[in-house]
């Protein structure tokens, strides 16, 4: 990420290419790189997914635990994101080096999933005020080659799609103490409804020293990210509503550009959501006996 060094000539080359709608790897401005997704790669978690977007490699594990709800929201469960940038991606992430980036991404995810239109936290409640489900979504970034936000959001959606939460057979209040019985059958689970989970779309605006105008690129590689002064990360739900917008980078935009960017993000977000749901459904159709490759292929 920070270690791609680009000379001025290279930056000019990339920027001119974007202008002509022909990027260095041959894509046009609104194309994504090829993606691979596989779920259930970690059998000991409630849900997991591995997503590869060209060289960006993300592994997500979802764990469900029983916890006490917050006192001011007694009917709601909890959802917590944790993003860890592994040193495998670049030596700069060793120790605490990747913490800043990790907190930024987890904050963006928290914002995107904050609305109860996305995930109604009351569905995670077991016994009001006593017990609720807490979902830990843990993201491990293994390789980064640009466009981390999109890849992470897609992987999180895939992992949540595959997550299976054990069914609660009985939940009673026994003399003030909560008593919960979970189903013994490991296959007796509840799946989450991911129909309204958003995906993040990153649009990079190449601004810098050459006044390009309103050209923005989707799915930037790490070189393109270096050249851009500002990028907008938009969380789009499958029905086209926008749940969060964050602007990153040190540049500024004109209002008309912002509006155009948001519209483009919405269109792409809808297509991306449809794409990932198709892929996940196809994977489901392969059945539970499919061979899980994980990192072996």
């Amino acid at each position: 990420m920070a270690n791609t060094l680009l000379s001025l000539a290279e930056k000019t080359f990339i920027v001119h290419g974007v202008d002509d709608n022909y990027r260095t790897d041959g894509r046009n401005r609104s194309e994504y790189r090829p993606m691979e997704v596989e779920t259930k790669v970690l059998p000991h978690t409630s849900g997991s997914a591995r997503l590869r977007l060209a060289n960006t490699d993300i592994l997500v594990g979802v764990k469900a635990e029983v916890d006490t709800p917050y006192p001011d929201n007694p009917n709601e469960g909890k959802l917590e994101f944790f993003v860890d940038c592994s040193a495998n991606a670049t030596p700069a992430f060793e120790g605490k080096g990747g913490d800043n980036l990790g907190t930024e991404i987890s904050n963006t995810l928290t914002l995107a999933y904050q609305s109860s239109h996305v995930l109604d936290l009351t569905t995670l409640c077991i016994l009001p005020q006593q017990k609720c489900w807490k979902l830990y979504v843990d993201v491990l970034i293994l390789q980064c080659d640009g466009n981390l936000f999109d890849a992470v959001a897609l992987a999180v959606k895939a992992a949540l799609y595959s997550a299976q939460i054990p069914k609660v057979t009985t939940a009673t209040l026994d003399g003030g103490k909560a008593d919960i019985q979970l189903s013994d059958d490991p296959f007796d689970c509840v799946k989450l409804d991911v129909g309204s989970f958003p995906v993040l779309v990153t649009l990079c605006k190449n601004f810098t020293f050459i006044q390009i105008g309103e050209n923005c690129v989707v799915d930037p590689t790490s070189e393109e990210e270096e050249c851009s002064a500002a990028s907008i990360v938009v969380a789009v739900m499958p029905n086209g509503r926008i749940t969060s917008v964050v602007k990153t980078g040190y540049g500024s935009l004109q209002p008309s550009t912002l509006v155009k960017t948001l519209e483009l993000a919405k269109d792409i977000g809808i297509k991306l959501n449809a794409g990932i749901m198709n892929a996940l459904k196809e994977e489901d159709e392969l059945g539970s006996q499919r061979e899980i490759f994980g990192f072996l292929k």
């Binding site: 006192p71 001011d72 907190t103 930024e104 904050n107 914002l111 904050q114 609305s115 109860s116 239109h117 996305v118 309204s196 907008i232 739900m237 029905n239 086209g240 509503r241 926008i242 749940t243 969060s244 917008v245 964050v246 602007k247 990153t248 980078g249 040190y250 540049g251 500024s252 935009l253 004109q254 209002p255 912002l258 509006v259 948001l262 519209e263 919405k266």
Partner: protein, 282 residues
């Protein structure tokens, strides 16, 4: 939650009493009525009155104080200093922003250390101010901006951004223009500008069914009105794109309208400084 090891913390398991009182319940039903008329009597598109003053902190290079309705924010800016923990030379200067609520500022007591929300707001503040500052004037240095919210009456981030831009100007940091920020909120189909705390809570909660267009959300827009640029756009909630477009237009106009207030304050600052110089000469 970061744990403050140096101070004596209250018991971890303490719960604010307001959870148990009935006062809370009556408060939550009030804002719904504000869909037609807001609690403080403003129109939906009206902003609150702003008071700004610079030079409030004597020890800082530049400082400013802002009051937007009930929200009070004080901000101080210090001289450029070497970037700590950095080995490589950077061609552009850096801006280090810290946004903090005072422990007594919100209804629920905050701890003295920055928590995740404040860290996020610090980053948002930094990104809003960066386009305005001429960073190439102080390469390899960083300018510290500290904003402290003394009273959170809603839209404290927007107030802090404006305060910080004024403080930067007061500190003679070279800038391209002033930064103004306004927040807006959506609930169902009504858009409010310049939210109060109750309206913020309302806009964060979702109305029941998402399928008829029930928007809800908060938008904070920071802009450089003199150049017609948006420096930061921060949206949380669930809004459809037409409402967002409408919001952007309204917010841009509102930002332009606030600009003269901030400019006037700076003019007064300069006049005051000139007067002081004259007095010293005599």
């Amino acid at each position: 939650m970061p744990f403050d090891q140096k101070r004596i913390n209250g018991p971890e398991v303490s719960v604010p009493y307001s959870v148990y009182t009935d006062v809370n319940k009556s408060k939550s039903s009030k804002p719904k009525k504000s869909l037609h008329k807001r609690v403080d009597g403003r129109e939906h598109k009206d902003l609150r009155k702003i008071f700004v003053k610079t030079g409030v902190i004597s020890q800082a290079k530049g400082s400013a104080y802002i009051e937007v309705g009930i929200t009070k924010v004080v901000c101080s800016v210090f001289d450029p200093r070497e970037i700590p923990n950095k080995n490589e030379y950077s061609l552009q200067g850096e801006l280090f922003c810290e946004f903090k609520y005072a422990p007594f500022a919100c209804a629920k007591r905050r701890i003295h250390q920055q928590d995740a929300e404040e860290k996020e707001f610090s980053l948002v503040m930094q990104r809003s101010l960066e386009p305005a500052v001429c960073r190439q004037e102080f390469p390899n240095f960083q300018v510290d901006v500290y904003a402290l919210v003394l009273d959170n009456g809603g839209s404290s981030l927007a107030a802090a951004i404006m305060c910080a831009s004024l403080a930067l100007a007061d500190a003679s940091v070279p800038m391209f223009g002033l930064v103004t920020a306004v927040s807006a909120g959506f609930y169902k189909d009504t858009m409010f500008l310049d939210l109060t705390v109750e309206e913020e809570v309302l806009c964060n909660s979702a109305p029941a069914k998402p399928n008829p267009p029930n928007n809800h959300g908060l938008i904070m827009q920071a802009a450089l009105p003199q150049h017609d640029q948006i420096s930061e756009f921060f949206l949380v909630g669930s809004i459809n794109i037409d409402c967002i477009k409408q919001a952007i237009e309204t917010l841009t106009v509102a930002n332009k309208n606030i600009c003269p207030v901030v400019q006037q304050c700076l003019v007064k600052t300069v006049l005051r400084a000139l007067k002081r110089k004259e007095q010293e000469k005599n």
